[in-house]
Amino acid sequence: MSDQPNEPGSANPPEPVPEVTAARPNTRLGDLAGGHDEDPTVGHPTVFDLERVSVSYGGKTAIRDVDMDIHCNLVTAFIGPSGCGKTTLLRTLNRLNDPIPGAAVDGKVNYRGEDLYGDDVDAVEVRRRIGMVFQRPNPFPKSIYDNVAYGLRLHGMKDDLDNRVERALRHAALWDEVKDRLKASGLSLSGGQQQRLCIARALAIEPDVVLMDEPASALDPISTQSIEDLVEQLKAEYSIIIVTHNMQQAARVADVTAFFSVDVAEDGSRSGVLVEQGPTSKLFIRPSDPRTEAYVTGRFG
């Protein structure tokens, strides 16, 4: 494993990080199945409050009537079958659907008490506070250093640039692998490293929330593990929302999980809906909706 999370000077908690493969529980469900599933959201203020949010593209509804709370310093997973609108909803949270012609958001997306789609809200500021990591690693064809510095330069955070870049790379557990070749192209890195570079790039501008759209789906199992470990560490400082196809991944990393499904209306039109949301352990072990149960037990049609 290439990650060195207990690297001195990094922002990780000082507790020794044991060998990843041996120490990682398969899921957290084991310890939680005993019945004492506490609500993980206790003591974590709300960061997003969605009220009847619907998103449509050119009149076709992708996801509708979502009511949910997302809490800070937790990992929230969006799971569900393809086409259930989970990625669409994620992109709504940093207004990344804005430039898509015909995209429209109804309802209210409140971010720390402010309407994200209010008339007076600057999308640039929204995206500085709410970062995003994409499904496929997409570093710029620039040097590793410039990739991380891109957002910093953009937002005038140019004081102490070297240190900020280093800090972000350490946060993303990439510093030790790249510190001797910061001038090398970001594209020269492996897939997993590229994805951690993209995470570093997002962290550099000190966001409040990090959105991750299936961040490990294009990676091999070992790189996936390093990303998952990273997510685990990052939630101390950031609120993380992660979209995933992989239920084991949700079970491993998420405190709270929201399950989305596709609803077929009478006229045959399909749209995504939020089926249920709750502590990951509860959702996986005692789901309240039969659709959730069918999905998490692999009986989804």
Binding site: N94, L96, P99, P101, V124, E125, R127, R128, G131, M132, F134, R136, N138, P139, F140, P141, K142, Y150, G151, L154, H155, L187, C198, R201, A202, I205
Partner: protein
């Protein structure tokens, strides 16, 4: 229904033979077409080289064109080379910024419908006969002002514009949209994204487009007929005056009764051909390289 299964697998059955014969015929025709295309280029190059080489000497580059085809009096194409370089430079200075901006607009900012209209318009413009462009600029700039290198530059830039804009747009569209999103997700505006991500990624392709456009303009003849003088024997560097050009020297020399002029025309044709070939091969080569670079970041 198992009749097919019982058919012989033998390669010597009638059907198999027919199929093979037909395959060979088609392959032969395709090969022939490829050979003809290459042969045409080869014949052009060889015949121009054969006739141009005897007159290819130092005088060609150091002397100006002769007035009456008298050997010893001039006999070079120095003025034409300088004229072609200056007029092509004027044209490129107009068409590249305009074409690149147009490409940026249509690939990054324009709504899809407008982008389509722009694309079609550029294709139409690319198909307009160059002599029509020459006449147009003649009516627009030459009438009342006289021939000038400026007018020629404008005419050539109209020829270049679709070349630059279309190939630049192609490269811009090759830049993966994941990079646009990455930049936007970091809080960059569209314009900023274009300047700091898209253009640096696509710059190789834009250079290529420029080289190809230069090669194209250097060889154009018809737009020059209407915009700059045929008879210009002195070296002219003032762009408000008409200038000689390589294509027109070829045109004029080949019409001339003097064998010396004809020789010079062939040599000029060789110079132009070599220049354009080098330019466009360099362009294609660079374009392959930059495409590969962009594809890496997909």
């Amino acid at each position: 229904m198992s009749a097919a299964a019982h058919q012989s697998l033998s390669a010597s059955s009638g059907r198999a033979k027919r199929r093979r014969r037909w395959g060979r015929v088609m392959e032969g025709l395709a090969t022939l077409a490829a050979v003809v295309a290459i042969a045409v280029l080869a014949i052009v190059i060889i015949s121009v080289a054969k006739k141009g080489l005897p007159a290819l000497n130092a005088d060609l580059f150091t002397q100006v064109t002769s007035t009456f085809g008298i050997p010893g009096e001039g006999g070079g194409i120095k003025n034409a080379i300088i004229g072609t370089v200056i007029m092509t430079a004027i044209a490129t200075a107009i068409s590249v910024p305009l074409g690149v901006l147009l490409a940026i607009f249509s690939s990054e900012f324009a709504p899809p419908r407008l982008a389509l209209i722009i694309r079609i318009t550029l294709n139409v413009l690319a198909g307009v006969p160059t002599i029509v462009i020459g006449v147009f600029v003649f009516g627009l700039l030459v009438v009342g002002n006289g021939y000038s290198a400026y007018a020629a530059g404008v005419a050539l830039s109209i020829v270049q514009l679709p070349v630059v804009a279309r190939s630049t747009e192609e490269v811009l569209l090759l830049v993966p949209s994941s990079l646009r999103e990455a930049s936007m997700a970091l809080g960059a505006s569209r314009a900023r994204t274009v300047l700091t991500v898209i253009l640096p990624t696509a710059v190789g392709g834009i250079v290529t487009a420029t080289i190809v456009a230069v090669a194209r303009a250097a060889g154009e003849t018809a737009p020059l007929l209407f915009t700059t003088g045929i008879f210009a024997n002195a070296v002219v560097t003032d762009p408000t005056k008409p200038m000689a050009s390589i294509p027109l020297v070829i045109f004029q020399g080949s019409e001339s009764p003097s064998p010396h002029d004809q020789e010079v025309a062939w040599a000029a044709a060789l110079v132009l051909l070599v220049g354009v070939l080098i330019g466009s091969s360099l362009g294609r080569l660079l374009s392959l390289r930059s495409r590969r670079r962009i594809e890496q970041s997909r």
